[in-house]
């Protein structure tokens, strides 16, 4: 088995807010991230898949196909969007705060089962170069 990682980038706006809490609680827990006008990041996504090398093609997956899947399932949905307002999994009522951890989990759910010939191994999301979250599909 071999691991293969493909990178993609998207830039999005977000803010942190738990509707079940008062405004004071939100400000205390989330600090500056609770600004409802939002703020943004250049995110870097690294998707790692695991699989066997095809003896004929020498590929685990066709990288061009993987690139297209990331573009279709993630980048086209997240890039230059406001995650809280424009992306279904983080919309009001879902209770899903668009933290780096939850973005990694949401991307895993978007990609799971959609990559032919390989198993999704890890989703890593960098919010900045000194902060990133990993999700391996653990419940």
């Amino acid at each position: 088995m071999i691991l293969l990682t493909r990178k993609a980038e998207f830039s999005s706006a977000h803010y942190y807010w738990n509707e079940a809490w008062t405004e004071d609680e939100n400000r205390r827990v989330f600090g500056r991230c609770a600004n409802k006008n939002g703020h943004g990041h250049n995110y870097t996504l690294e998707v790692t898949v695991a699989g066997e090398v095809d003896p004929v093609s020498g590929f685990v997956v066709d990288l061009k196909e993987l690139k297209e899947i990331l573009e279709r399932e993630v980048v086209s949905v997240y890039d230059h969007r406001h995650l809280n307002l424009e992306v279904a999994e983080f919309a009001a009522g879902t209770g899903m705060v668009p933290t780096t951890e939850n973005i990694a989990i949401a991307i895993w759910r978007r990609l799971e089962g959609k990559i032919p010939h390989a198993k999704l191994h890890r989703v890593r999301v960098y919010e900045m170069d000194d902060l990133f979250a990993d999700y391996y599909g653990e419940r």
Binding site: N18, A20, W21, T99
Partner: protein
């Protein structure tokens, strides 16, 4: 997690934070002769020492709390790192510190020490510490999560 906020556990994820610090060191042990020290440690044995810009990557593992979407409060982690990592080691000569009085300040030993220090963080479990000594050398210790 911030005090007084009830939380419930969600899927398990890992959060990594990188801290930068600069310190000097000299690799030398009294257990070797001067000649042996030079042979083993080479230019790192220079009596005047030398320094690095270290990048310390700390990884926390745990359930993502449903209410906050977080593994732990980043402010708590940064505060812990400021007190127990940066104020203690940044801008220092590692050989002069009590911690390295009888321990050669290789980055292997430094990584083990930082990993042990972060076991004292109560916000979430620190599962891995990785230190880049230069862009070419890095050292890590911790769980072998995400096999392979």
């Amino acid at each position: 997690m911030a005090a007084g906020v009830a939380t419930s556990a969600g899927p398990k994820a890992y959060l990594s934070r990188r801290y930068r610090l600069s310190a000097s060191h000299r690799l030398h042990t009294e257990a070797y002769s001067a000649e042996e020290n030079r042979a083993v440690y080479g230019k790192c044995n220079n009596p005047h020492g030398h320094g690095h810009n270290y990048a310390v990557e700390v990884t926390l593992g745990g359930p993502v709390h449903a209410e906050t979407g977080m593994v732990c409060d980043l402010g708590d982690l940064d505060e812990f790192a400021r007190t127990h990592l940066l104020e203690r080691f940044d801008g220092m000569n590692l050989n002069t510190l009590e911690e390295f009085r009888e321990l050669v300040p290789t980055t292997e030993n430094f990584t083990r020490m930082v990993h042990r220090i972060f076991q004292g963080f109560r916000g979430a479990r620190v599962v891995r510490v990785r230190i880049e000594e230069t862009g070419n050398n890095s050292f890590e210790i911790g769980d072998q999560f995400g096999r392979g």
